[in-house]
Amino acid sequence: MTAQTHDPNKLGRSAEPNPDGPAPKRVVVSYGFWIFLLSDFILFACFFAGYAVLKDATAGGPSGKDLFELKLVETETVLLLLSSFACGLAGIATLARDMRWFQIAMAATGLLGAGFLALEAYEFLHLIGEGAGPGRSAFLSAFFALVGCHGLHVLLGMLWLTTIMAQAWAKGLREDILRRILCFSLFWHALDIIWVALFTMVYLMGVRG
């Protein structure tokens, strides 16, 4: 009644409280995590904008056309895509409450992610060894910042993945553990989305010069 007197035209939410009550914790938690991921996308947008602005500022040094190896990037892309797929299968294993398949799928996710990171580390060390390190030009600073930021996310995701595996193993697939698994899989899939933007804008457009 008081709500109606303060808001006679019901300009706010309906005067009746939601008969279903608040959303379950599972929805609230993963929605909050979704908001965090979107803010992470905005962080990456800033790095992408910096790269786009600086990609021609090579200071007489090598450009993307001279440096990028598409075969390596192709392998990285396949590894990350398969890792995302394995992570999805781990999520399905939780629906079936199947601990063994969950652990197998998560281990596959982690190993494929580790393969991706190893290739990226090789690429970085190779570039630095060639004298094309982050200090060479503004283009390379922006390149290492952007690709390195994504790599750092993958690295942190791998640490998180091992803790999730250990938690699921020690505590079982309880409600709270399932929420954490859901958040982790959102994070892992989001990294793959960022990688799509990254290999398109940095590598594929870079080798065209």
Partner: protein, 127 residues
């Protein structure tokens, strides 16, 4: 109110990344397999565009952007399960706001800095 099961309370809201309740295990696996195949085809197309001379040169960047957007769409729908269904409107609205900010940051920076470079270097220095 309290005797209502959790599942029923959530019938008009879906958590991001969550399969809808009626999806079976088989349906879930199928969704991921379809997503994997679609993403693989689009990725292969992107790499092929650059490595082989398939498309008229000046159109390649536009084609790459279109393929990348398609791939992100595949990831969102088949892997993150963000759909246009009525149970998903909160997630989609948040996503649209995120896309708006990302587009403003990216296009705004490129636009402004492009003009700045152009004006500072003069016609001689622009490639």
């Amino acid at each position: 109110m309290s005797e209502r099961p959790d599942e029923e309370m959530a019938r008009d809201e879906t958590a991001p990344g969550e399969q809808s309740e009626q999806d079976s295990i088989v349906g879930g696996v199928r969704s991921y397999v379809v997503g994997l195949i679609a993403a693989t085809i689009l990725t292969a197309a992107s790499f092929a565009l650059v490595q082989f001379d398939i498309v008229w040169g000046p159109a390649v960047p536009a084609a790459l952007v279109a393929l990348a957007i398609g791939q992100m769409g595949v990831h969102l729908v088949f892997f993150l399960h963000i759909t246009t269904g009525p149970d998903n409107s909160n997630n989609v609205l948040a996503l649209l706001f995120g896309i708006l900010i990302v587009a403003l940051v990216l296009l705004g920076s490129i636009w402004i800095m492009g003009h700045l470079n152009h004006n500072l270097m003069g016609p001689m220095a622009t490639p």
